[in-house]
Structure formats: structure tokens, C-alpha cells
């Protein structure tokens, strides 16, 4: 028995479904009933119910590609701040550095989360195509807006890339790294997506902004 429509706005405590449904992200199940636990949009896929949050801190997930900032050096690797409540570990053997490269506190890395425990001990992997990031600027957007910035099959990011000539790397954690081309313009476009993600017709407005 479903109580919510697809793409409806949910608030915490809202009854979404009853009976044989699976509670995925943003929902919880109690006594056979599925309730929303965050403010967000309901998506129902057959028996799976999920609520995509409109806001919130980034929580690391296995398989995510993130941008991190080295925050501490250890004897066999580094501690990495991944813009979330939890720090991640990067082992020395999990990153390729040429003889002239080094990794110090404050440096940026693009990495994949390979392993994560129940208490969020997070391990990163940063060999190719991942690795150290150089010569660019870093901006921060809300992690909930990352899918909007990427767009459907990467359409939004491709458009910004074509119009500004910048190479844009988006971490799932809301950090965005921009290299080459008109960096300032690309950064402004990314910030615009962050600010106006909830207003319909976003792609057209960003396109218009970049053509100006």
C-alpha cells in the first residue's frame, strides 16, 4: 500500500508506504511501515522507496569519488579531510607520486572511497585516474546539489566545460576543482547551480549566463 506519489515532497515522519516495501536512503521502517526521515523528494521504484535529501552534510559511501584536503601526515600515509564529519585515510601505497612530487598538509587529492567500516573508518584509493590535483581552484557547493551540477549524463558539466574551456572535477562530497580556461567564469556557473538548483529551467539559465 503506497501513500506517497513519485516526486512528491516529503518531510520527516511522513508515512510513505506500508507492507512489503524496502526502505532505502532517506527513509526508515518501523512496524512494517516506511516513513521519510529527511526533507526531500520521494522516488518509488517498484518495491524500493527512497527520499533524496535536499540538504545535508556529505556522508561517505563506498565507491564515491571525492576531493580531499590533506590534513595530517602519518608514518605510512595521510589523514584526509573529505568535507564530512569523518576523516579518511590515504595509505602511501594507494597513490602514485613521481620522484619530484610530494604530498603535504593542505594539498588536494582526487580519490575513490574503497572501503568503509560501520564506524566510518574510511580508506581512499588515489592511483590513476585519480591522484594529486595541481594548478586549479577549489570551490565548495552543497553535496546534495552535486547531481544537479553534473546534470543528466553529465550534460551540465559538459556544457560548462565547452563554454569556458575549463576542466572541472566534481567530488561527490561537494568540493569542485577547476583547472584551465576561464576558471572564474566556470566557478561562478558552479555557484549559480548551487544557489538556484531548486528553480526549474536551470540548464537554460546557466547556458544564458555563460553566453553573456
Amino acid at each position: 500500500m503506497l501513500y506517497a506519489k513519485n516526486r512528491e515532497l516529503a518531510v520527516p515522519g511522513m508515512l510513505l508506504a506500508e507492507g512489503d516495501y524496502i526502505d532505502e536512503d532517506g527513509t526508515h521502517k518501523e512496524h512494517g511501515k516506511v516513513y521519510a526521515s529527511v526533507v526531500g523528494i520521494v522516488y518509488i521504484d517498484r518495491r524500493k522507496v527512497r527520499v533524496v535529501a535536499l540538504k545535508g552534510k556529505y556522508i561517505p559511501k563506498q565507491g564515491d569519488s571525492v576531493i580531499g584536503i590533506i590534513s595530517d601526515e602519518r608514518f605510512n600515509g595521510w589523514k584526509v579531510d573529505i568535507n564530512s564529519p569523518y576523516e579518511a585515510d590515504l595509505n602511501q601505497k594507494d597513490i602514485y607520486l613521481s620522484r619530484y612530487q610530494s604530498l603535504k598538509v593542505g594539498d588536494l587529492v582526487y580519490a575513490r572511497i574503497v572501503r568503509i567500516t560501520e564506524i566510518f573508518e574510511t580508506s581512499l584509493y588515489a592511483k590513476r585516474p585519480y591522484g594529486r590535483l595541481d594548478n586549479g581552484i577549489l570551490i565548495e557547493i552543497q553535496s546534495a546539489r552535486v547531481p544537479r551540477l553534473i546534470g543528466r549524463k553529465g550534460s551540465m558539466i559538459k556544457m560548462i566545460n565547452e563554454k569556458t574551456g575549463s576542466i572541472i572535477t566534481v567530488g561527490q562530497n561537494g568540493l569542485v576543482w577547476i583547472r584551465g580556461g576561464d576558471k572564474e567564469l566556470a566557478a561562478q556557473a558552479c555557484q549559480m547551480v548551487d544557489r538556484e538548483a531548486h528553480i526549474p529551467g536551470l540548464t537554460d539559465r546557466v547556458s544564458e549566463f555563460l553566453s553573456r
Partner: protein, 230 residues
């Protein structure tokens, strides 16, 4: 019986709620409840400070309640006092059962409630606002937590006491509930009530809470209406 501003015995003061009003906080809410004006801000989940409070299997919740010096008739000495610490403690107790704390082990959620103007019932308004701020911050919760007081004035049980009623009345009893589970998470009382009066007051306060709950949902829906996602 005539009440101060011509309210019925079961009528709330006018309530205005707005979610997401502060840019620097992760989640926020502003509430006007009669003459009360209160801001609530939420930070987190984030790293636990001080470190020794960290819980390996769950998040911790810290609440701070503060009254501005100009919020009351006579200037209040700024800074935390006995009353502020107590209200922070009961707010934490009222909100924690509604939050899914085990989702974020080893982290901390911080709530800050700032009373700009007070007119009785600030802890209820504070809890109401804080739970919206939590939802606005995207923190997973079982339900929102509405809160409302009931009390006894001139021998009669009434809902949501205003300042004059509170000062002259016989009893004041703030209640916070989790509507979906029908659970009471805050129950305090100052003054005296008989057993029957207590039962009646709790029932009345709970109906008041349910009205507040509707306003909370409205406020969140208003803030996020028209949101789409791909």
C-alpha cells in the same frame, strides 16, 4: 471564562514559522509565537569537541539555550544561568528520541536556540523551532517534535499560557511529543494540579502539539515547495 486576549481555553496564540533563515548555519528556523521571537540554528553532524564526549556507536546532541539581555522586561544579565542550562538539558532530552542518532556514529549535532523576545512558553517555541531547524539541516529524524504548554488559570485548564496568565496562574506545564509514536518527550510542571486536572492538561497540551505539528509541516513545505531533483 474570559482570557487575556480573548482566546478560547483551547486556542493557541498566533504562530508564524519560517525555515532556513540563517546562511551560516547548516539548518535554521525563526518562530514567532504570540510575542515570542526565537531563532534556532543547527550545526552538524560534525566532529565531536570536546573529544571525550564522543560515542562510538551514535551521535551526540548538544543544546544551548540563550536569552538576549533585551528579551525580557528588565534587562537580563547576559550569559548562561541555572535556568538556561536546565532548558538546554530538557530540550536535548525532548529532541534526541526523535533523531536517528545511530546513523552518524562518532559525531555531534549542535543546536543553538536564541530567544530575542520572550513572552512565556519559550522552551516550547524553542523545541518547535529546533526540530524544524534539524529537518532543515537534513538530519534524519523519526518525526518532527512539536511542543506546547497547558496550565491552570483562575481554576480552569487552558492551553498555551501567555506571560500575564503564567504569572498569575496556578500551574504551567510544557509538553513535547512525537506525534507519530504518541510519545511524550518533555513533561515539566511548575505549580500544582490535581490528578484529574493533570490528565486533562496533558490531553489538552497534546491536542495543542498536534496543531503546532501541522504548522511545522506547512513551514517546511513552504520552504522547499517546487524543489526538483535529477
Amino acid at each position: 471564562m474570559e482570557r487575556i486576549n480573548g482566546r478560547r481555553f483551547d486556542e493557541l496564540r498566533p504562530i508564524k514559522i519560517e525555515a532556513g533563515v540563517l546562511n551560516r548555519a547548516d539548518g535554521s528556523c525563526y518562530i514567532e509565537w504570540g510575542l515570542n521571537k526565537i531563532y534556532a540554528a543547527v550545526y552538524g553532524p560534525k566532529e565531536v569537541l570536546p573529544r571525550h564526549l564522543e560515542q562510538k556507536d551514535r551521535a551526540i546532541l548538544r543544546c544551548r539555550y540563550n536569552m538576549a539581555p533585551f528579551s525580557v522586561e528588565e534587562r537580563k544579565r547576559p550569559g548562561p544561568d541555572r535556568r538556561a542550562v536546565e532548558i538546554g538539558k530538557v530540550m536535548q532530552g525532548a529532541l534526541e528520541p526523535a533523531i536517528l542518532m545511530h546513523y552518524y556514529p562518532k559525531s555531534m549535532i549542535e543546536i543553538s536556540v536564541e530567544v530575542v523576545q520572550a513572552n512565556a512558553g519559550t522552551r516550547c517555541a524553542g523545541i518547535t523551532a529546533a526540530s524544524i531547524a534539524l529537518a532543515d539541516a537534513g538530519i534524519p529524524m523519526r518525526d518532527l517534535v512539536p511542543s506546547c504548554a497547558a496550565g491552570k488559570v483562575n481554576g480552569e485548564i487552558v492551553l498555551d499560557l501567555a506571560k500575564e496568565e503564567d504569572n498569575e496562574g496556578e500551574a504551567d506545564m510544557p509538553v513535547a511529543i512525537i506525534p507519530r509514536l504518541d510519545q511524550i518527550t518533555l513533561l515539566q510542571m511548575d505549580g500544582k494540579l490535581t490528578e484529574e486536572e493533570l490528565e486533562k492538561a496533558i490531553k489538552l497540551a497534546m491536542t495543542g502539539c498536534r496543531e503546532v505539528y501541522k504548522l511545522q509541516i506547512d513551514a517546511l513545505k513552504r520552504k522547499y515547495a517546487g524543489a526538483e531533483y535529477e
